[in-house]
């Protein structure tokens, strides 16, 4: 806002000068223009003083001044910004101008098939900050029901990590230094659920509710920011946020997935309301031409915010920043759409239902579609017969922030997307100058802007080598937050904790800056750097 004011003033000064230069004759030009400049400055000063007084008065009356209603200076966004669509009546609308959509071919078609996965696993490394060797409560050969405890973190006893399906535990795999890599279950044909005694939402105390969530695995559906960790049971979150759309490349369409789950979704929202002293915020897709499911539109007990913009506008971290930013002392919780439905079902039926609709996508996917399965499905079984070519990368999650998996691997805990794209391990003659194949890029040196709807078929090639930070402003252009990512990264690299905190590391997780890593000319591993910084911060706190 202040920048606009300054440029506005500056423009006034500049435009007034030639006028004065023309109107006066030769010798007394200096005095005339000084007078003109003086007058402009005085007027500007008076206006800006009045503007400030007005804002102070508004603040005294507890009015929200951030919306730009209490200012004498015209807001540029009011003139040039996108208009709020008529369909979004009174709900707050955030139009984010920064960001970048990576358009990739292989979007899942709107059909849901039954998934073929037979083995499922929960992977302890998925949970940030968990001790590497959690206490495993089951042995190989044990029969478990969905909702039975598999393991818990020794540092935070009582928070159960439960089985997504019923069946036989067939492996407890270990990684480096005897850490637990995965607990694998061979699923029954018909899933048996452990029956929980659910508390009555109208009368339950928060403590009892938390205790129930800890036992039933419900707490692990939630996520706590900063740091992206399983929530602490003694923390009362400032607010709880749900984003109901994903702008990442090839991401599943939650409006499609959650179509028939309105009751469970609403029940989940009701539970969230009991967990926070603040509000439950639901971020809705405000992009033009997008259909938003009634499940989300008609939600009650929550404040709905619409977001329009390119990726990462759908990331909950971006939405938090624009609704009610995380402060240095506050913690917030977030939850995904499918996790929220699971949470709702837990209270409606007393069963831990870890069913997920997963989008199988990507350029090397023969028939991109949705499949119904459970948390932690075996990827090889899930995509069997649906892959083209043999030199592919299989990703659990989206191509920007997902993780690489082998075909024997399992989906990560919170992922509901599998992406298969071709590996790019080939040399390319003058590839940096005259690329043979079209590739997604934010740069104007490619003619991509002319083909705005073209869907690319990118490979995993890095398209260049790692370099020191050279270009500036790229990250700022793609991250719709009031944050300086490049300076934050440099602060992390130099281990400057105070600066990291001041520059807003607590507001970020890997998925938020994935798009910055994508566009980075210097090919810097921003997500890895950020995780280092978050680990540093976590140790400090």
């Amino acid at each position: 806002m202040r920048v606009y004011k300054l440029t506005f003033l500056l423009a006034l000064v500049i435009f007034s000068l030639p006028v004065s230069a023309q109107s006066s004759s030769g010798s007394n030009m200096l005095s005339t223009s000084i007078i003109v400049v003086g007058i402009v400055l005085v007027i500007g000063l008076i206006v800006s003083l009045a503007d400030n007084l007005m804002q102070i008065e508004a603040k005294k009356n507890n009015l929200d001044i951030s919306k730009g209603q209490f200012t004498l200076f015209p807001s540029l966004s009011k003139w040039f910004g996108a208009k709020k669509p008529a369909s979004i009546k009174d709900a707050p609308y955030h139009n984010l101008t920064k960001g970048f959509d990576v358009k990739i071919a292989g979007k899942a078609s709107k059909e849901i098939a039954m998934g073929n996965a037979k083995t499922f696993a929960i992977l302890p490394p998925n949970f940030n900050g968990m001790s590497p060797i959690p206490k495993v409560e089951v042995n190989v050969g044990d029969e478990v029901a969905a909702g039975d405890v598999l393991f818990y973190d020794k540092k935070r006893e009582g928070i159960n990590y439960v089985a997504p399906v019923s069946g036989e535990v067939i492996a407890v795999n270990r990684g480096a230094k005897r850490s637990i890599a995965s607990v694998v279950i061979l699923a029954d044909k018909v899933i048996k659920h452990k029956q929980f005694a659910t508390p009555d939402l109208s009368s339950v105390t928060r403590d009892d509710l938390i205790a129930f969530l800890k036992i039933s695995g419900g707490l692990t559906l939630l996520n706590q920011r900063p740091f992206d960790v399983i929530p602490d049971d003694d923390v009362v979150p400032a607010n709880i946020f749900v984003s109901t759309f994903d702008t990442a490349p090839l991401a599943p369409d939650y409006s499609f997935i959650a179509e028939d789950n309105a009751v469970a979704f609403q029940e989940g929202i009701n539970v969230l309301n009991l967990l926070t002293d603040g509000k439950v915020y639901v971020g809705l897709d405000g992009r033009p031409g997008k259909v938003v499911s009634d499940t989300f539109k008609n939600v009650t007990n929550a404040e709905v915010h619409y977001f329009n913009g390119k990726h990462p506008a759908g990331n909950v971290g971006i939405q938090i920043h624009h609704i009610a930013p995380i402060t240095t002392t506050s913690k917030v919780w977030t939850i995904g759409v499918q996790e929220l439905i699971s949470l709702g079902k837990l209270f409606l039926t007393g069963k831990y239902d870890a069913e997920r609709t997963v989008a199988i996508t990507g350029t090397s996917c023969a028939n991109p579609k949705y499949v119904k399965t459970y948390v932690g499905a075996n990827i090889g079984e899930l995509i069997a017969g649906n892959v083209e070519g043999d030199n592919n990368r299989i990703i659990s999650g989206d191509p920007l922030s997902g993780s690489k998996k082998s075909s024997e691997g399992f989906m990560d805990y919170r992922d509901d997307q599998v992406t298969i794209i071709e590996e790019g391990d080939e040399y390319e003659l003058f590839g940096w100058l005259l690329p043979v194949s079209p590739r997604p890029s934010m740069s104007g040196t490619f003619p991509n802007a002319l083909f705005s709807n073209f869907e690319f078929e990118p490979t995993t090639n890095t398209h260049g080598e790692r370099r020191a930070f050279v270009m500036t402003g790229q990250y700022e252009k793609t991250l719709p937050m009031d944050i300086y990512p490049q300076h934050l990264m440099k602060a992390i690299l130099t281990g400057d904790i105070e600066k990291m905190e001041g520059l807003g590391i607590n507001e970020l997780t890997e998925e938020d800056i994935a798009i910055c890593e994508f566009v980075c000319t210097s090919k810097q591993p921003l997500q890895a750097i950020l995780r280092d910084g978050l680990d540093m911060m976590q140790e400090q706190s």
Binding site: I14, L400, F430, W432, P440, A468, F469, T472, E517, Q527
Partner: protein
């Protein structure tokens, strides 16, 4: 991929001969985009890399090269009163320009890249592309007759002290190309200042002085006489015509204001660039085409360019209003007809490494360059042009601007708690 196999076969051993390996790696990655795939983090990456960024800047200045080369020859024959039309004596002007420019280009790049390669081998990392642009810029901002050894010393100074001492590409504080120029400017002022240096091929630029031609000219002569074209031999008997001055418009404006400039050069000549000056900076339309390329590809910051223009205009207006010397009374818009404002704006001020890195910082940085540069140009008789000093000065302050902008962001965030 027979070619690829062959090239892979001749790869030198990294341990035995690290310098050769670095050299090989530099050229190999130039020819072939590496087969590296993403590990962790994002799985697909933007097609843009530093090589492509740098080469786009080099492409943007190619027209300046073509025009600058020809203009060296044009100024030379203009002094002799021969071939007054721009395209007359085309072969001679081009040949003379090439004879002057090529050695400058080769020396600047051999010295600069040689030092870069050596440091890359010593530190064991790949060759970084920063010098691609610096090496292309340096010849364009030098006078055509600059002794090659001075250029070599200047480039070595700029690369070693200005860049490698700070850690290489991306770490330097001052613009490398300008550092080379400022070194020549202060260490060997007679080669860079005054009216003598901007027209090439003469011992002294004064009426009656004869041109001198070397072996390279003779080589071209034999080619030209075989082809039945005009030769340098015919020109060697001519002398500089009466009333010719090698002074640049800025020097003239300092003495006698806009009238003194237009007595010698037409506004058209100044706009198109058929005037004496540093090699690449005279032709405004061709620089503006480069600006257009940089802006369309969004490689250079439009914020810096625009604010620099605003800053220079504002200062010129203030000087117009002050009106104490003939130079101050030059109408503000004509200030852009003279000197190297556009070249500095397009290629020097926008260097992302040495400019301010925040968007607000870029506005301030560009504005102050324009503002200060115009002060140096008009008010200081010792320096005929202000952008070099203004940009280096603001390079120094860019981190400070960023610091305060970052700090205000931090304070804002901490206040929220």
């Amino acid at each position: 991929m027979g070619l690829l196999d062959f090239i892979k076969k001749i790869e030198p051993d990294k341990k035995k001969s690290p310098f050769l390996h670095t050299l090989y790696d530099g050229f190999f990655t130039f020819a072939y985009a590496p087969n590296e795939v993403t590990k962790g983090g994002v799985h697909v990456k933007d097609g843009m890399d530093l090589k492509r960024t740098m080469i786009t800047v080099v492409i943007a200045m190619q027209l300046c090269y073509v025009f600058g080369t020809y203009n060296i020859g044009h100024q030379h024959f203009n002094a002799l009163g021969m071939y007054p039309g721009f395209l007359e004596g085309f072969n001679l002007k081009l040949a003379h320009g090439l004879i002057k420019l090529l050695p400058l280009f080769i020396v600047a790049n051999v010295v600069g890249l040689g030092i870069e390669f050596w440091f890359a081998a010593k530190k064991g990392h790949g060759i970084e592309e920063g010098f691609l642009v610096s090496g292309a810029l340096i010849p364009l901002i030098m006078p055509p007759d600059l002794p090659l050894w001075i250029l070599a010393v200047a480039v070595a100074f700029a690369v070693i002290i200005g860049k490698e001492a700070f850690g290489g590409t991306g770490m330097n504080i001052w613009n490398v190309a300008l550092l080379a120029r400022v070194f020549v400017f202060f260490a060997y002022p007679t080669t860079m200042a005054g009216d003598q240096v901007w027209v090439s091929g003469f011992e002294e630029v004064a009426a009656g002085a004869a041109p001198y031609y070397g072996w390279a000219h003779n080589l071209f002569d034999s080619l030209f006489s075989w082809g039945g074209l005009d030769t340098f031999k015919a020109a060697s008997s001519s002398v500089i015509v009466d009333g010719f001055t090698g002074a640049t418009p800025l020097a003239l404006a300092y003495q006698g204001g806009w009238e003194a400039v237009t007595d010698v050069y037409s506004t058209q000549a100044m706009w198109w660039g058929t005037i004496p000056g540093s090699i690449g900076e005279t032709s405004k339309p061709f620089i503006l085409i480069g600006v257009l390329i940089l802006l369309l590809t969004r490689i250079a910051s439009w914020r810096i360019m625009l604010s620099m223009f605003i800053g220079a205009s504002l200062m010129a207006l203030i000087l117009n209003a002050w009106d104490a010397t003939p130079f101050m009374s030059v109408p503000w818009y004509y200030q852009f007809w003279m000197g190297s404002f556009f070249f500095a704006m397009a290629f020097m001020a926008t260097d992302p490494v040495t400019a301010a890195s925040t968007n607000t910082g870029k506005w301030i940085y560009g504005f102050l360059i324009g503002f200060v540069g115009m002060i140096v140009r008009v008010l200081n008789p010792a320096y005929p042009e202000g952008w070099m000093l203004a940009i280096l000065f603001m390079n120094t302050f860019a981190p400070l601007m960023d610091h305060y902008i970052i700090q205000s962001n931090i304070t804002k965030r901490l206040k929220r708690a």
